[in-house]
Symmetry: C2
Subunit: 115 residues, 2 copies
DNA sequence: TCAATAGGTAGGTATTTGCCTAAGTATCTT
DNA sequence: AAGATACTTAGGCAAATACCTACCTATTGA
């Protein structure tokens, strides 16, 4: 339907969606230690390979990982820039909240000063 | 199906899923500036109220916001602790990657030293 | 008290997700 | 060249999502 939101147009949508799954987060955790082949990545999961490949595709589409094929082996690596982007989005609003707390703190401090 | 993953059991799943939507992120952005009623929050969005309420429920279930009703008005506020939790998950793996880069840097530095 | 206001419920639809099996297609390896 | 290896594609199904309209229920203010 035209009125319905169409699939994940946006980088943040895709990025956070990619992180909203334990399998995909485990892949990121693994890739943080170094690049790996698809089958090595898939080995720990009790899941058919095609299902696992879908998770990899979600991660790659979101830009969180990149992959390259040499011969019959596809190697995956983490793309930390995108993680950083998501991180920045979050800290921005944590920061906004801290600022307000700080302002409150300042206010209380001043109050203390005048007493 | 028993074999299928059951709905968002996990805090991280729920948290990241909640952030994977522009409407919900906009709510967080707004709440970072201060607490607000449901209708004030909903006003900017071209969406029926029940649809908007679903988004609020997703945010509340994820623990990203809390709400309380007084009279007929429900007030929503941000729960920054949960944002911080998600943030920590991400930075953990950004950090892992930086460590490896640092090690590489150290290696290159040493190589430079011996030359 | 009656109507406007603020929110909530019920129930319905299209799309997306997450999983599967079955059957490819390229590379190695022997 | 034949089999093993490492993915890939196709197609299918159930559950979750993201919307909607049509009511309903409390408050509050005139």
């Amino acid at each position: 339907m035209a009125n319905q939101k169409q699939a994940l147009t946006n980088r943040l949508d895709q990025g956070f969606h990619a992180l909203a799954d334990a399998t995909r987060r485990a892949v990121i955790a693994r890739l943080a230690e170094g690049e790996t082949s698809v089958s090595d990545l898939a080995a720990p999961f009790d899941m058919a390979l095609p299902s696992f490949l879908q998770h990899l595709r979600v991660l790659e589409t979101a830009g969180l990982i990149t992959t390259a094929k040499q011969g019959r082996v596809r190697t995956c690596r983490l793309e930390p820039g995108r993680l950083a982007e998501l991180d920045r989005w979050i800290t921005q609003y944590e920061a906004g909240w801290r600022q307000r707390l700080d302002r409150l703190g300042t206010l209380l401090d001043r109050k203390g000063d005048t007493q």
